[in-house]
């Protein structure tokens, strides 16, 4: 085996530069911590974004695909999700999956942190919404939030940085449908610029928000937190794959072992380690970091690492709006309005917790045809009927944690370095099935009210494992959780986890702003209470 190069020690190593790793790196650099962020992927040059290519439809389904198993880029590790009803998607690069996200940023509700107390399900979080609120606000400032105050479904909050993204004719039609039903709706909060913000241009509504744009209109951490972190002295070390968190005989973390850009092994000593590798990558790394002091894998004395995997469950209905003045592919794909009419638990329903409705727009010609338009004699008639008229109303459902849903190390599948790949075992729970059945019926009702035709129902979306949560859960009890309320591992006080792994429950909203708020809170804890980690 090649000898391992030992780098100069630093205060903190952050593993991963996505939504949360970037936020922690920036925050610690701001307080003069010597911080290195190790990222398995490269910088992505905005000029190479698929939206700059006439071939964007092909790129969207190949090397810009959401699934690492389809992309198979050098930095991607394969994920065995054969035993999962929902397939895993993620992106590996500076910026992580924010390179590929749709930037929808609703917040958790206060009740999401108290589901055991309120509803008798899962567990309460060891923190409250109001513990996180200042960090949600700070994150909005850094990323730039478009939206508007006054939403009756959520607590009052600080003003957003920008007005809402325009609804478009389709969004207005759907909003009026919700109004006619007497149901809640509100413009989506989004980390998309509705006006120029911090040197990034306003969105020009090309539609393919998940493919990013050179304008920088949609925030991703490679153009928000990371440049600021670098200016403050933070280092981003790219194309470097961490394969082990190293520990000493007393169980404390001593740094990380990784393969550098040339594929050579290196050791980065540090006073502390922050893992931000997402709800799949983090348990994979912990389970692979076995040692005499952590025989079940790092920070796994509770045997909770990898368990309680949550995705969000998605279902809904689709229809055609035939009489709009503009096509439904004008505007950001998934950022129009949301409805939380059915978000909180209602004892009259046969499930606990609830869901958020989100509207999805039509897309370009090939995405319209693929999956919806049949081949053969009816092809053109069906295509013409759908193109520019299709609209979707999807429900993102609270996916309660179950220990049987989990991440393990695959006994056979590995990445390019021979590091075991994650194996996902997941099935949709009974509560989720009832919740989704309710959501599908209500979605169809909204579409009917909007005047949509050709309404079809989708009982479960499967290629939607965007939100990876719960696999290193937070809690006060070291026997039932992996980290404490500050994201600090119970088993190693200089190890922190800041991605969706620490979620106790998933709520019924997109998780990224909550992940980032938690990360900023952990960084604040390190800055104020763990000065011993600073040299």
């Amino acid at each position: 085996m090649a000898s391992i190069t030992v780098r100069e020690p630093v205060d903190i190593v952050v593993v991963g530069s996505g939504a949360s790793g970037a936020a922690v790196t920036w925050s610690l650099a701001e307080d003069d911590f010597k911080v290195v962020c190790i990222e398995q992927g490269p910088w992505v040059d905005p000029k190479t974004y698929a939206t700059n290519s006439p071939d964007w439809q092909y790129l969207q389904r190949t090397k810009w695909d959401y699934s690492p198993n389809v992309r198979k880029l050098p930095q991607d590790y394969p994920v065995n999700d054969d035993e999962s009803q929902i397939k895993v998607v993620m992106y590996n690069a500076v910026g992580g999956s924010t390179i590929h996200w749709t930037a929808h940023v609703p917040r958790f509700h206060p009740s999401d942190f108290r589901v055991k107390t309120l509803d008798g399900v899962a567990d309460d979080w060891p923190i409250s919404y109001f513990d996180l609120e200042p960090y949600y606000d700070l994150n909005d400032e850094m990323m730039g939030c478009s939206g508007i105050n006054g939403d009756p479904a959520n607590p009052p909050r600080s003003p957003r940085q920008m007005p809402p993204v325009p609804l478009g004719h389709d969004g207005e039609r759907m909003a009026r449908a919700f109004d006619n039903l007497g149901w809640h709706w509100w413009p989506s909060d989004s980390h998309i610029n509705s006006i120029d913000y911090k040197g990034r241009k306003a969105c020009n509504f090309c539609g393919a928000v998940g493919l990013n744009c050179e304008r920088g209109a949609r925030a991703s951490t490679d153009i928000t937190y990371i440049p600021d972190a670098v200016k403050l002295g933070g280092e981003i070390r790219t194309n470097s794959t961490v394969y082990e968190i190293a520990t000493n005989s007393s169980g404390k973390v001593t740094g990380v072992n990784y393969y550098n850009e040339q594929g050579e092994p290196e050791f980065q000593p540090s006073n502390g380690v922050v893992i931000a590798a997402n709800g799949i990558g983090t348990p994979r790394m912990l389970l692979h970091s076995k040692s005499t002091s952590h025989p079940n894998g790092l920070a796994n004395s509770s045997c909770m690492v990898g368990k309680n995997l949550m995705f969000h469950v998605y279902a809904g209905a689709n229809g055609l709006l035939n009489d709009l003045p503009t096509p439904t592919y004008h505007g950001p794909l998934a950022l129009i309005i949301m409805s939380q009419e059915f978000y909180e638990t209602d004892p009259s329903r046969d499930f606990k917790r609830g869901y958020t409705f989100q509207i999805g727009r039509g897309q370009g010609p090939a995405p319209t045809a693929i999956g919806d338009v049949p081949w053969g004699d009816n092809h053109h008639a069906e295509f013409n009927r759908r193109f520019g008229k299709n609209i979707g109303l999807g429900a993102i459902g609270d996916d309660l944690p179950e220990e049987v849903n989990r991440v393990e190390l695959d006994p056979h599948l590995t990445d390019r370095y021979g590091i075991p790949s994650p194996k996902i075992i997941y099935r949709v729970g009974e509560n989720s099935k009832k919740l989704l059945a309710h959501a599908v019926d209500q979605a169809a009702k909204v579409l009917e009210t909007a005047g949509a035709t050709n309404i079809t129902r989708n009982a479960l979306s499967t290629n939607t494992g965007w939100h990876l949560m719960g696999t290193a859960r937070m809690g006060d009890d070291p026997e039932r959780s992996v980290v404490n309320k500050f994201g600090q591992a119970h088993d190693a006080d200089n190890l922190f986890i800041v991605d969706g792994s620490v979620f106790v429950t998933g709520a019924g909203v997109n998780p990224t702003p909550t992940i980032q708020a938690l990360a900023l809170r952990t960084a604040d804890y390190i800055r104020h209470d763990r000065m011993d980690l600073k040299s």
Binding site: S53, Q57, P152, G168, D179, E344, A366, I370
Partner: protein, 144 residues
């Protein structure tokens, strides 16, 4: 090595069955998108050999039958039902190639080329649309 099938006549017929001619445009077989199909098949592993193996499978299903619309429909449907995953990939590939063609874009009214930098116009945000919902009393659950 080509991803196209040596039986180019059968390949053309199959493609034309998947997306038939319309108005003044040929179908996917007659449009001249073979180079695009080959490029898409070879540039990314996802579509490697899909076209070739699909035509092989359809050809074997046809057997000695004459290549008629009816027989092609039957052979393609057989392939679809027995091998749904390769068939879905075939359809995805053909749809991508066909709906990336500027002549098709022109027919359906889609602006060809990259999505940026032009984007699409949207009417400006108008707050008056909130009139009804913003008068609703807060209904989020308060906790300690």
């Amino acid at each position: 090595m080509t991803s196209l099938h040596p039986n180019s006549a059968l390949q053309k017929s199959v493609l034309d069955r998947i997306i038939p001619p319309v108005a003044d445009l040929p179908g996917a077989g007659g449009l001249g998108i073979e180079n695009e199909l080959e490029r898409m098949s070879t540039e990314h592993h996802k579509f490697s050999d899909i076209l070739f193996s699909a035509i092989e499978s359809i050809q074997s299903r046809l057997g000695e039958d004459t290549v008629t619309v009816e027989n092609l429909n039957k052979a393609i449907s057989g392939f679809e039902s027995v091998e749904p995953i390769p068939f879905a990939l075939l359809l995805e590939l053909v749809y991508l190639a066909y709906y990336s063609d500027p002549r098709v874009h022109n027919r359906i009214g889609w602006k060809t080329g990259p999505l940026q930098p032009e984007g699409h116009p949207l009417p400006p945000w108008e707050e008056s649309i909130l009139a009804k919902v913003k008068n609703r009393a807060p209904f989020w659950t308060e906790v300690d």
